[in-house]
Amino acid sequence: MSLGTSENNYELVSGLEIHVQLNTNTKIFSADSASFGALPNQNISTVSLALPGSLPKLNKEVVAKAVRIGLALNCTINQINHFDRKNYFYADLPKGYQITQDSQPICINGFLEVELADGSTKKIGINRIHLEEDAGKSIHDQDENYSLVDLNRAGVPLIEIVTEPDIRSAEEASALLTEIRKLVRHLNVSDGNMEEGSLRCDANISIRPKNATDFGTRCEVKNLNSMRNVRRAMDFEFSRQVEVVSAGGKIIQSTLNFDADKGTTSPMRTKEEANDYRYFADPDLPPVSISDAWLAEIKSLMPALPNEIWRQMVADFGISKADAALFAEDLSLLAYFNRALPNVKNKKSLINWLVGPVRAILSERGISIANFGVKPEQLAEALNLVDEKKLTQQIAIQQLLPAIENHDTEDVVKLAESLNLLISTNSDDLDGYIDEALQKYSQQVEAYKKGKKGVLGLFVGEVMKLAKGKADAKKINELILEKLK
């Protein structure tokens, strides 16, 4: 039997181990700050340093965050779970062991559905999510004779999300990671920043003939620190393994390093993988017990998930999925929307403004809506003025919104009045402007009367100019048509 040599005869089988650094204020087992960017060894105390006699003390916020992500990934929450010690020596691991969860992780048996480019969806199983502490950092390039150790990161909380080997392509892996990054941000669990190492990924990769049901021998590729590298590593590893197997060789189970410069994988030194971690339950920490009440509290404090949000918005407001997704992926935008909503007369206009002109203003300034100087209630009032035809949309956006930002006033209507931005409702004024305009363009009036109806816009524009924009174009239109009858 020939399997053929083409990559088309094989499929990729992969599962990911995704490390997510949680964005708690303090470390997982001490009151030391967990913030990024401090000077080396500033965020350390007895626990981070593993001084004699020091003991870990669990930060409950870490548990709550892990449960949030577990619920979002449709996991079963192990309401009794415990910590284990993973024993190994390294310079940036001051205790000589890492506190992690081995036999009883906090979440198990979940799944996530991701959408692929062709519009199809793929369900990827989540095997487990466990809690652990990060190690410190060894710095090898700052001193000629010594390696330096920075323990600021030692003890920063991590969760590791382990998927089932359900991934069949680099695209699926990348879609999964993108979705998880979106979720951790949405749930305020992590900043999800791959460049700063808040989101890191290892990939278990194997191949098998298409239609086969057994798994091939897998290799674990470590240190994939960008979405792009995940794709590259998978593509490279797939080709490599197909080549080995096609040539009659066997895949040897091993741990590989991804070289981002070359785009290739290479085996780690065997020494690095010969560890026997001697896991056992950490006797310094009692089992974590998540009571029904605590679980209910965590659930109640969880924001709606992105999928729920966009589906709801599409249903409630009849907007497009693309527009709805903008709210689902930006909780501050959603919060802004929800604050403005009770105050507006036309809900659809509010959405249109937020995904249109307001979004343009924000992206031009490169800020989030949380930093927008116009409060939701003020935006609602400006919008209402436009909907009531008391203000043109153009003036509202170009003049009133900046004015609101620059004025310390709550009353938007008064502000618009005082700045003389409101549409003139006085027909006499408009009459005057129309006469003036028609006079200016008398030749065109003649043309119009001979059937060249297209010039109407010219008259309207001129009237608008004379009214300094504070007029309702529709009304001008009507009045001019009346005059030209």
């Binding site: 007895t46 593993a50 001084l51 004699p52 006699g53 003991l55 150790v149 896991y279 056992f280 006797p283």
Partner: protein, 473 residues
């Protein structure tokens, strides 16, 4: 004969102005000087103790002193005291200054105890004779050729030889009770989780408990009262309220006491200890206590289970002493691996290395199930068995050590002989129950003998009240 044997006596003298705390401290300094050959102290805190003594004397005069005002106490050299050296009697930590205080030290100071120094012990509390200390063997004050027991040997001898009123030890498998027994003192191991371990250098985390060594039950009760109770920094401490142990020492009803038959029938048990215990049993009966002999068929499993579990935990707990961040570091190492190997080879003594190796082995892939997991199961069985016994009995009676203090050097050649001597003390260590060693006179060679009582979890109040009555028989 000791000059001072209880805090109450000292406080009376101070309040009658017959004694000041600085004078008392000077007396103990003199005692320490005279007993230097016993090698009980790794360091005497001359300066900080004197400062503290003066400050407390002032407080006494002002009438706002704490519960322990007048108590001069020594701490085992594995308990951290801010800005003081703590070594665990190991070369590994020789000269290491702790930047923080253990919870027990904070609580002692808060109640105005004076901490006189740090006491010699077996290296990292691993040993039963105080012969594994990097700073030399401690000698029994009864006879300097004999061991004081261990691992809190310095703590026991310091109290025995009147070098301080009381001492703190730590008890993992008998390290408070057995030296107290060898030195004729009272040694209490509280329930696991009663006293914070924060700042206590770990040997085996699920066993270690701080315990007092005293000459009176009253002082043990008072110390427990001060030291026990919830601690923000140790999540294995029980949140249970701390009873006023010292105020309730006189409430005694007849007890139902179980004597573990196999312990009394053990071939290893010294005949003089046996007969002394039998005598105690008779007088307890005469006092109206009900005594039953009950079978405990797990005796043979105690020592193996204890050594598998404690060495496993120790192998992990002692990984932090790697020469990188603090402690002994080999200066010639050329690589990280070499640094680890040389620093640890030089920094640890033989017994510590033996236990790290044993513990590493029992946790290793392929052996975990056969050793560590099995031992965990045995531990659970032992707990269950004791729980069943405690449904019918208030206390369990058994020996502390199978022999009186032995000669220095006698047991050092054969670790197994040394380990087997822990057989009676490891029982409550495995189950977590509180236990106390109480003196029951001397043998013909004038060596101290001792008896052990175990109580239900967190029933120290009952155990102490009973002990008080027992000693006044």
């Amino acid at each position: 004969m000791k000059k001072y044997s209880s805090l109450k006596g000292i406080q009376a003298l101070i309040s009658q102005k017959q004694l000041t705390l600085p004078d008392l401290l000077a007396y103990y300094f003199k005692q320490i000087k005279e007993n230097e050959h016993l090698n009980a102290f790794n360091e005497v805190f001359f300066y900080s103790a004197e400062v503290q003594a003066k400050a407390v004397q002032q407080k006494i005069e002002e009438g706002n002193a704490g519960k322990l005002a007048g108590m001069v106490i020594g701490i085992k050299d594995n308990i951290c005291y801010k800005d003081h050296i703590v070594t665990a009697s190991s070369k590994m930590l020789d000269g290491f200054v702790s930047p923080y205080s253990a919870t027990v030290v904070q609580r002692l100071l808060q109640e105005d105890a004076v901490i006189i120094g740090r006491l010699n012990c077996d290296e990292f509390a691993m040993g039963g004779s105080n012969e594994t200390s990097y700073f030399g063997t401690v000698k029994n004050a009864v006879n300097p050729d004999l061991v004081p027991g261990g691992s809190s040997g310095g703590s026991a001898v310091a109290v025995q030889a009147d070098m301080c009123l009381a001492a703190l030890g730590t008890d993992t498998g008998g390290s408070v009770r057995q030296p107290a027994a060898f030195c004729g003192q009272i040694g209490l191991k509280p329930t696991y989780g009663r006293i914070s371990r924060y700042g206590v250098i770990a040997y085996a985390s699920s066993f270690d408990q701080v315990g007092p060594i005293t000459s009176s039950v009253e002082d043990a009760a008072l110390l427990l009262e001060v030291l026990a109770g919830a601690d923000e920094n140790d999540s294995t401490v029980s949140p249970l309220d701390v009873p006023a142990y010292s105020a309730n020492l006189n409430q005694l009803e007849p007890k139902r006491i179980a004597v573990l038959k196999e312990t009394m029938e053990s071939e290893a048990l010294d005949p003089e200890i046996k007969s002394a215990i039998l005598e105690s049993i008779e007088s307890l009966k005469a006092q109206g206590h009900v005594i039953d002999y009950v079978s405990f068929d797990l005796l043979d499993y105690l020592v193996p289970a204890y050594y598998i579990l404690t060495t496993a935990e120790a192998s992990s707990n002692l990984s932090r002493y790697d020469g990188v961040h603090y402690g002994h570091r080999n200066a010639e190492a050329k690589s990280l691996t070499e640094l680890y190997k040389l620093s640890r080879a030089e920094g640890f003594g033989e017994e510590v290395k033996r236990r790290i190796l044993l513990g590493t082995f029992v946790l290793s892939a392929g052996y975990y199930d056969a050793y560590y997991q099995k031992a965990q199961q045995v531990r659970r069985l032992i707990r269950e068995k004791l729980d069943v016994l405690f449904q019918d009995y208030d206390l369990i009676l058994l020996p502390v050590a199978p022999t009186p203090p032995f000669k220095i050097g006698d047991n050092m050649q054969d670790p197994l002989v040394m380990y087997m001597a822990d057989i009676f003390t490891v029982l409550p260590s495995l189950s977590g129950n509180p236990a106390i060693a109480l003196p029951i006179g001397n043998n013909k060679a004038n060596l101290p003998l001792s008896i052990q009582f175990i109580a239900k979890h967190f029933e120290e109040a009952q155990l102490l009240a009973f002990s008080q009555a027992f000693l006044s028989l």
